[in-house]
């Protein structure tokens, strides 16, 4: 059975991440994971005329880097699954206009990284595709404009706020043998525990992450100790302790195995408030640092749970609470079999 338990998929075929590509901006380059990114830009504009073009350049660069590692061209890829944070997913749509790969656009806010990877893997597993690319991007300045204020506006943010990661990550998935295996995925339900503050998405998203993680354990009959690392997307310094405590109430102790991409990507002294966020946060950390560690065998089995806050400024102004979602994908080191 591919559908296992209530909302998890266990893939029937051996699926692999054959290559990944990551491109990031200056602040991420300055952070602790700088060595793990393929391409880094020194300038937030990435040499482009405006922020939206800069974000597109990041996604294009990530995808190109990814397929170049395998000496493929766009023609060798069957489907392209991507999304971002901007209205009408313009980054993904406009990148797809350029690369002409048959395209499925997706929106899951910051959970898009694992949403695209999970669905892409399902397509390959089901024989609907041989090779897919899953990609996502976010840009600090475009996200500020989309969700908050102009970049140069001098408003004060609280310490619960997060800094949107500038970057893009892409992964190519197929049945051709590689070093990182995709074994299962858990699709999340939308959770809303009544948090309204758009400057505190960690608190809002923690229940969604906890739901998806505990459901994953139930569906697969596993324990936290079956994983070397359970990594959430962008819960940051506020949401990370909450998700650990919520899971403890459910009877799962993840205190020693949990980490958060939003806490891994920056140093605390980089003026990032509670940590990093955005689609690219989980994407560049997973497709850079984590995939590297898994390929080396230093991490045997990792559950990546990308968390997304499905808010819009209009809904916030209409006093709506923030719906959130989390999707998880299990990545395993190939050596784990032998």
């Amino acid at each position: 059975m591919i559908l296992t338990g209530k909302q998890s998929w266990v893939f029937q075929n051996d699926l692999y991440i054959n290559a990944t590509g990551t491109a990031v901006g200056p602040k991420e380059k300055d952070g602790p994971l700088k060595e793990t990114f393929d391409v880094t830009f020194d300038d937030l504009h990435c040499g482009e005329k405006n922020w939206e073009l800069a974000e597109r350049k990041l996604m294009n660069t990530a995808i190109e880097t990814c397929i170049q590692k395998l000496n493929y061209t766009y023609d060798d890829v069957d489907f392209f699954l991507a999304g971002d944070l901007l209205n009408q997913n313009v980054t993904a749509n406009f990148v797809a206009r350029q690369n002409q790969i048959p395209f499925l656009c997706m929106f899951g806010a910051c959970s898009t990284s694992m949403e695209t990877l999970a669905l892409g893997s399902a397509l390959v597993d089901g024989g609907f595709a041989n090779r897919i690319i899953a990609a996502t991007s976010s840009h600090n300045a475009t996200a500020e404009r989309q969700f908050r204020y102009p970049t140069e506006y001098g408003g004060q943010k609280p310490d619960t706020a997060t800094a949107t990661v500038t970057g893009s990550g892409a992964a190519l998935v197929s049945k051709e043998k590689g070093k990182v295996k995709i074994t299962s995925a858990t699709i999340g339900r939308v959770a809303d525990y009544g948090i309204k503050d758009p400057f505190d998405m960690g608190s809002a998203m923690a229940p969604a992450a906890a739901q998806t993680i505990s459901q994953h354990f139930k569906d697969l009959g596993r324990e936290p100790s079956d994983y070397d690392l359970i990594v959430t997307g962008d819960l940051s310094g506020v949401g990370s302790p909450i998700v650990k405590d919520l899971l403890k109430e459910e009877g799962y102790n993840v205190f020693s195995t949990h980490n958060d991409c939003g806490l891994m990507i920056y140093r605390p002294d980089q003026n990032v408030f509670a940590g990093g966020s955005g689609c690219a946060c989980s994407a560049v950390v997973t497709y850079g640092h984590l995939v590297e560690q898994i390929a080396k065998g230093e991490l045997k089995r990792v559950f990546v749970v990308a968390t997304g806050a499905l808010l819009s400024p209009t809904m916030t102004q209409q006093k709506e609470t923030i719906p959130t979602i989390a999707h998880g994908v299990v990545l395993e080191s190939v050596e784990v079999e032998g």
Binding site: P150, T151, E152, G154, Q156, S203, V238, A274
Partner: protein
């Protein structure tokens, strides 16, 4: 009911995880930076009175213009948002904050063109200040007028 209960509890429960704003320190920072901006404004006003023979009343306009110009330059060089993060209301309340809200919106929407980008969006943040400023000024002016012309005479 139980769903609502869960929501209420969660909001309360997570408060312990959220870093508390340091109100005293924030107020102190706002007071010092806001005070510095106003002191600087006073120096500029005195300068206009002393060297350009403005009266005390007339010196207000060039003083505001000067502060607005400086705030716009600081916004354009990417400094004002950093001051704002540090000072909060201290740099938002003076006229420099108003200038920053307009200049930042203008810079942000330059990519959509001069008319529909800059001109349309320039008042995106400052518009509410103008609406409520004008409305409040009108109401206060009306009260003052009624008070002065009718009530004062009767006394």
């Amino acid at each position: 009911m139980s769903d609502k209960n869960l929501k209420d509890n969660y909001s309360k429960k997570v408060q312990q995880y959220q870093p508390k704003p340091n109100y005293f320190l924030n107020c102190l920072k706002a007071f010092i930076i806001g005070g510095l901006i106003c002191t600087f404004g006073q120096l500029v006003q005195n300068f206009y009175i002393r060297y350009f023979d403005f009266t005390k009343e007339d010196a207000g306009n060039p003083t505001v213009s000067t502060l607005v110009l400086i705030a716009v330059l600081l916004t354009a060089f990417g400094v004002y948002d950093r001051i704002g993060q540090f000072a909060g209301a201290g740099s938002a309340v003076p006229v420099t904050g108003f200038a920053n809200s307009m200049a930042s919106a203008a810079i942000e929407h330059r990519s959509e063109g001069i008319v529909l980008g800059i001109a349309t969006n320039m008042f995106k943040l400052a518009g509410n200040v103008i609406v409520f400023g004008v409305t409040a000024a009108y109401i206060v002016g009306l009260i003052r007028y009624i008070f002065q012309h009718y009530l004062m005479h009767q006394l």
